[in-house]
Point group: C2
Chain length 672, copies 2
Amino acid sequence: MDHAILYLVPLCGLLGLAFSLYLAYSTLKNDPGPQEVASISRAIQIGATAFMRREYVVMGLTALVFAVFLSLVLNVYVMFAFVIGVLCSALSGFIGMSIATRANGRVTFAARGGLSKALHVAFSGGSVMGMSVVSLAALGISGTYLLFDRLPFTPDPLTVITGYSMGASFVAIFVRIGGGIFTKAADIGADMVGKVEVGIPEDDPRNAAVVADQVGDNVGDVAGLGSDLNQSYTDTIISSLIIGATAQGVGGLYLGMKGVIFPFLTVANGLVTSALAVLFVILLIETEKIKPEATFRVGLLISSVLALLGILLLSLFYLEYPGAFYATAAGLAVGVLIGLNTEYYTYKRPIHSIVLASETGAATNVIMGLAVGLESTVLSMILLGVGMIVAHHFAGLYGVALSGLGMLSTLGFNIAMDAYGPIADNAGGIAQMSEQHPRIRHITDRLDAVGNTTAAIGKSFASSATAAAAISLLTAYSEAVQIVHLDIRDPKVMAGLLIGGVLPAFFASMVIKSVGRTAQLMVIEVRRQFREIVGLMDGVVQPDYTHCVDIATQGALKQLVLPCLLAICVPFVTILILGREALAGLLAGCIVCGIFLALFMANAGGAWDNAKKRIEEGEMGGRGSLAHKASVIGDTVGDPLKDTAGPTLDILVQLVATVSLAFTPLFLRLLQ
Amino acid sequence: MDHAILYLVPLCGLLGLAFSLYLAYSTLKNDPGPQEVASISRAIQIGATAFMRREYVVMGLTALVFAVFLSLVLNVYVMFAFVIGVLCSALSGFIGMSIATRANGRVTFAARGGLSKALHVAFSGGSVMGMSVVSLAALGISGTYLLFDRLPFTPDPLTVITGYSMGASFVAIFVRIGGGIFTKAADIGADMVGKVEVGIPEDDPRNAAVVADQVGDNVGDVAGLGSDLNQSYTDTIISSLIIGATAQGVGGLYLGMKGVIFPFLTVANGLVTSALAVLFVILLIETEKIKPEATFRVGLLISSVLALLGILLLSLFYLEYPGAFYATAAGLAVGVLIGLNTEYYTYKRPIHSIVLASETGAATNVIMGLAVGLESTVLSMILLGVGMIVAHHFAGLYGVALSGLGMLSTLGFNIAMDAYGPIADNAGGIAQMSEQHPRIRHITDRLDAVGNTTAAIGKSFASSATAAAAISLLTAYSEAVQIVHLDIRDPKVMAGLLIGGVLPAFFASMVIKSVGRTAQLMVIEVRRQFREIVGLMDGVVQPDYTHCVDIATQGALKQLVLPCLLAICVPFVTILILGREALAGLLAGCIVCGIFLALFMANAGGAWDNAKKRIEEGEMGGRGSLAHKASVIGDTVGDPLKDTAGPTLDILVQLVATVSLAFTPLFLRLLQ
């Protein structure tokens, strides 16, 4: 074969995996701290592992059923790719979370040595997640591709590989919804009894739901976000491979196999640049000379510049098509701008308007938050639209797919930055629970605040990449089912748009209600423990933490199956009742409304959260004022939006798109 | 001319106008009540008239500028049609509101004679609005059409008549936004100081904002809703005329001029059946034997059946094309089902879940309300999609336009039902302020509760009809600018979808913020009066009501211009920068997200409102309980959504669509 260069990709994946093992080692070699710290960390770790084990069992069984279904209605190769996709994605989530739950106590202890020491441990811990996600995705996708490319009797590897994509989406939807319900049910449950009813501080060890809350940070914010971005990444790669195979540059230039290999090389390039950026940031932290925000900004800049440089070289000397570079760069630029827009709306002046509105009560706080959230989506969606036109201008549909890759080209570093936040959050909780010196809590709070914004930026990245990937998948689907015209004036397409447009709302309402129901159970249990356990309020006796973890676990597991099934079934029902054009319209409607709602929910939630933080720092009368109470209500409203419903919408959009594309052979048979 | 039958339409319009004058007379001949009642009614009337005068001045001046612009870039005929559209729409709003502000005190006084007497006056008052809207629309549109059809030297009346459509949209956006900001700023301002801070009941005469609040009910809920539905009606009629002119039935059947005349006759038919239904309901009320809810349900049933019958006869014997009947009937059925869906979500079981969630505080109340609102949109949007496919199946694109007419075929009766609500609400306020016997207030409360649901149903009707009309306008626009393929895979179309999808959010956030800003000023003023006016709290001295009316007036007028300009400018900017396909995509995105958000906001707001009412009736501890406080916050959050932002989205969608269509000749010149 003349494209031996492709073997570079799994090689980079293996190297990346080795690097993340090294990062894991260097995180774990830090002192786990004294007994009181280590034991809490251990409790969180046990809770998180127990939840994840049960979640993976439910997921594994459902995946098994689905795999059999795949082998029956499609073929055994797609099933095989699906299984690899599930395994790689599940593994990356597991690795990342295992390290995160071990890093938290170490951060608490390291904070005794100062901000930089704590940041060092937290960031190392987070970067394990970052590197393992991108490495396993690169390894898994390129490995699957190479395998089916080499086996002589199998179908086209590019039709088989959609199975991998489904596997990643499958894991993502389970982990995101399950983790999302768990974390917010525990969080709201803990806050509503602890802060509001009993009047004890956040993370107080007397609150029975406090460990569940910490576990939630890991299973929701670490594993959930990782699986979410893993899926966006996978879909983006695979859609650009599929489009690349038949891609024609502007002016009819035919790219041939290079059109497929180029995205792979971009992935390898991103892996290497992310690793370099992670290393660089770690060294920068060790100098102890620079603030955390600035450190990350420098890291992001370096990884973006390096990635762009690599893409430029690949476009010019390998693909020999500069249009590919412009398209990818357009995507990267749009991603960065959307990130800045998110930072503005969740950190700058709009926050102040929410803070001011809190003076007149919870209602005005909530109203202003809704207005800020709605407004925050405007520039992002316009940027997505304009970016798409630019990418298309330079490299046609292939360019649109590549622009998604551009957005995610620094993903390894991005996830590292995101995953560090919940680790710092956990470290703060452990400091509070083990009654460390307030200075420790102050340091972890400082890290956590930065983490809040990186998390919001991470979410907007995920949504933007989702849009690019899903639009490419929509195109690939329409080609595959041989749609000639996909005219909006066709009533089936328009009906699809309307129905697809409301799907995210349905999904979001299901997920929000699940959080509400589980939180209600949590409230009842925490109240019961305060009432029935003698000596708990005085701090003499410990509450029963595990029972609360159990409630969150069961609530999450029970309620994640229905939304997952919905997302998988919708394409089948639509195509069978309304036809292939309607399904394409449904995809488009789902993309537009899904991305809009996801951005709205993430940004509104982030804005409410940071408005509360501002007031807690002393604005409008500070903690305990009426404005503070109002802002706590706003924050609580935003919680299930930003951490549960919003992020799962990305996954909904991609799962519907992936299922539509993957089952095309079946659809074509059924439609005949 | 061989279509003399067309003259029936303006004739029906004149008769309808005469009927509404009769209804006005029969409302006004009721006793205005004793001095204390009449004087409050008079104050409301003065405030409402003063606001409307100033609003109409601003609107008139802007319309003048726009008319000059129209005559310059298009032609003087379109300008003329625009002016007629503005005048007819402004007049119907003025008539309806004048009677409503005179009916309120009469209802208060009539309530002494019992529920039926009060209902009689309130419904008669509301039906003036209903009949004058549909009569003036029928008269104005058919008159304009006939005029330009008869004048030998003018262009095609169907291109001219888009000017009328713009006129109706123009009035609607001013009246809806202006009235919406006024009513909610006054309402929130009054409640936040009165109920929350000072602890006096709603509508207490000591509250300085209480008259402004009552004025708001009239300028927002009566005039606003009327202008909103007037615009939906106008656009629906005009889009079916335009599509009808070139309509081909399924199988290529050419309808000729009958395709244009049929929608006109449907309008005349709807006018007559609405008048009959209004008469019937008035007689039914006079028997004093039937509950208000049941009365309206019977009225709705009768008007629907009569309308269907008329449409069936017209389809069979005039158009000789049964497909037109099926399409229209599909629209009517979808409208009724969407109405029932709204009734379910704003009145039945979902309300109970919000009531339960109030137990754990405002945050859970708000979260559950958001979830209910999101879920409530699902069936409506699916019904819209399916209805469109059915209508298209029977009569092609013409069928889609006719399905919109079907939805609005009983509009006269619907508006009558909607407008009665705020009159009853006002009557209750007057009863409270003039310290009538609690029995009076009880009767008006009973009427008001029914009005809440009819209002929510009216809003969902408006949104559904908007969807049908806007989709027809989108089709007409694409034909007019000669778009051959409107393929979603075209990146410009997709970019348009994304940008159009976020337009409603931008618009909504602007309007919500305007309400917030004005409410804040109101709060400060009411607080000031309580602080500075000696003897106010003891009820010895009256507050300065007019100052509060002034604040709401100025706030509304200042802040309505920007959103209006946005809606008008967007099509120009889009087509000039991104091209004609992008504008079509933008329209589609705006329709999907706009209708979704409008339904979400209307239903969530209605649900929060009625959940609060349930608690006030005694559930969860009743008035004064923690659950009640939580539900008041939820209701306040919902207020600007359901009464300001949500309804204006319908108008945004239609204004963007109408402007796009009407300026096509200019666009074609610019694009060359």
